[in-house]
Amino acid sequence: MRRLHVTALALLLVVPGCSAGSSAIVSGDPNSLSVGFTAEPANFDFTGTDGTAIPQALLYNVYEGLVKLDENGKVVPLLASSWTVSPDRKTYDFQLQPGVKFSNGAPFTAEDVKFSLLRVKTDWKISIKSKMDVVERVDVVDPAHARVTLSKPSNNWLFDLTTRLGAMFSPTGVADLANTPIGTGPYVVAQRRRGDSIVLHENPGYWGKKPAYSTVYLKYIKDPTALNNALLSNGIDVISTITAPDSIPQFENDNRFNVVQGTTNSEVTLAFNDAKAPLNDVRVRQALTYAIDRKALLDTAWAGRGTLIGSMAPPTDPWYEDLSQVFPFDPARAKALLAEAGQTNLSLRLRIPNLPYSVSAAQVVASQLADIRVKVTIEPLDFPAVWLKQVFTDHDFDLSIIQHVEARDITTFGNAKYYWGYNNPKVKELLAQADSGSTEEQIVKMREVARTINADAAADWLFLFPNVIVAKTKVTGLSRNQVSESFDLTGLGRV
């Protein structure tokens, strides 16, 4: 009896602190690495299933494209050793890397480039495939030289080739994409345990630099705290992105770990239903934008990690400028604008995905808007299913909060049918000019787009999601910024 008491007491006492104690779990093999993620791929076929989880695991690691995006957002060579662009900017000539093989042994040639790029139009199912509509034809000049002709000049196209859309497939390797991915990358999928992990093995026939770790376990742990605990208890070596920001200091204060913080493409956006009253009134949108103290929101909801941006462009985009102070926190001004718009008794539905960042930010938004007498009802919806259906597809919302993770997704403001229903012909025109113009023109026009949507308060960009990677000190070469769709394992090294 007494013993029971003592144990119970010990349990309670130990919790608060005391990180003493020896490590009983020793990570074994130095050639293997375990990386923790939150979102598990449903299958391996990113041509048929949307979402970020599949490219995060496979792109650049298992599949490669002609080009890739480096951590500073620059397009660099991958399977194409070099390329040239014609003066009318419609024809691209790609010189291919020699000696490349798919993991099933088939050689990689210009035929595969043609096969893969044309296949997007014919066989892909996910909606972003329309980005490849601009491809008019693909010619095999010789096995090491592919020529792509576009129907019109497009700056976005080459950039989009760095995403999953540019992944190279072999006609001999697309029979069972959902379960057996076959690419040219440094890793092959060795095993998958659904609900737990995916195991990647080194591809022995890889054409490029041998990866530092011959086996990589991609561990899927949905709960942010459980993910932290896994690293703290030596269950994994790296957390790909921390989603429990208040726990970061415990890693920073622990010399077993390295914390790397950078930026992402992921704008945490308070979306307004621009097409529906009362938010179709620009004064109401501006009022809400003035009423939200984004600095305080970032500090409370995300422990101050992240960047205030003010428009739909992250610092890694060439046209980025800091617009976060255009609408400073000013509740009095907000109230005046609401009065001017005749909306003194506003009640809004904030329909959010039930994800940690969104639930946190929503509570701050609701509290801050209550201060200018706007009543906000938070409705968490199952993500992705219900949110996609009701908010994204049926536009049944006033406000929502979600991360827009895709690169250069500012272009969605040119689509009046997009869920926020922003309809501005000027923005549409600017986007078209930016796509077809020279690189310099592109930057100028895109900057104009970013300024316009900011001035219109088309949405309120609360903050840019930080990329916080925590890893054991033995792991080197972690990229600071997460700007591509891939969690790129190829740059990793070890002490």
Binding site: V15, T225, A244, S247, Q250, D299, N354, V359, Q363, P380
Partner: protein, 274 residues
């Protein structure tokens, strides 16, 4: 000795429940701070005179949230147990008073409902109608119906076999009259015990649901969600998890103790004889 334990149980149970009820009632008129008010400047403060249990990561007062959270807890318990009692009691009495095969049939249906536990039902309901306090309450309520039906039936069977009921039946009293005059008053003690125990289970279920994100929607304070939000801070600020954890334990303990104490008092053998 036996009586003393029983009375102690009832006493301690009542005191604990009283605490929860008091906190909930008081919160309608007064809380130290606005429990939903976000305050970046007051983030993660330790306990002080102003903030008795400190503040959470949103700078909200934990004590105020606990008080308003007590409301959520009681609300869920009352409605869930209410649903269960209102459906389960007549069902059980009906099963106990009607022909054997009919009673059996009702009880088999009852067993079928028993196969859908509260948590499972609530997850399914939440998926269909959206997770909210209401769906949680209804799910917990439906899942609790079988316990009431069982207790009501077995109590009814006992009462029906007593001599005075047999006499009333041969005297030509209608079934409804027998049910309301003799059966219900005699099994009410059992039902109260069941209500108390079910209340404890409902509190636990609500906490688990809010923890999983299938319960009360933010920002309305709920003990389960407070626990869930505090998880990432467990190492640094264990207080944030301990306070709602203890609140849940107090409520559950209170209702369990009360139920236990009352069970001895309303022992079926005694109740029927009186």
């Amino acid at each position: 000795m036996q009586t003393r334990t029983r009375n102690t149980s009832v006493l301690i149970g009542s005191v604990l429940i009283g605490l929860v009820v008091l906190a909930a009632l008081l919160s309608f008129f007064w809380t130290p701070h606005d429990p939903e008010k976000v305050n970046a400047a007051a983030r993660l403060l330790g306990p002080t005179g102003d903030y008795v249990f400190g503040t959470d990561k949103f700078g909200r007062d934990v004590a105020s949230q606990i008080m308003v959270g007590a409301r959520t807890t009681l609300y869920v318990g009352v409605v869930a147990v209410g649903i269960a009692a209102v459906i389960g009691t007549p069902l059980g009495m009906f099963a106990g008073m009607s022909k054997r095969w009919l009673g059996e049939f009702v009880m088999r249906g009852n067993d079928l409902v028993l196969a859908f536990p509260a948590l499972l039902l609530a997850i399914m309901f939440g998926a269909v109608y959206g997770a909210s306090t209401l769906t949680a309450m209804i799910a917990i309520g439906i899942a609790t119906v079988p316990s009431f039906a069982r207790i009501a039936r077995s109590g009814t069977l006992q009462v029906m076999s007593t001599e005075y009921v047999l006499a009333a039946r041969s005297g030509g009293r209608s079934r409804f009259a027998i049910a309301s005059r003799h059966v219900l008053p005699n099994i009410s003690g059992l039902l109260i015990v069941q209500a108390s125990v079910s209340f404890a289970i409902a509190v636990l279920a609500e906490a688990a649901l809010s923890f999983l994100g299938f319960g009360t929607a933010p920002p309305t304070p709920s003990w389960g969600r407070m626990l869930q939000e505090s998880q990432e801070l467990l190492t640094v600020q264990p207080r944030l998890a301990l306070v709602p954890g203890i609140a849940i334990a107090v409520a559950v303990l209170g209702f369990n103790l009360l139920g236990d104490g009352l069970r001895d008092r309303f022992d079926p053998r005694l109740a029927v004889g009186s």
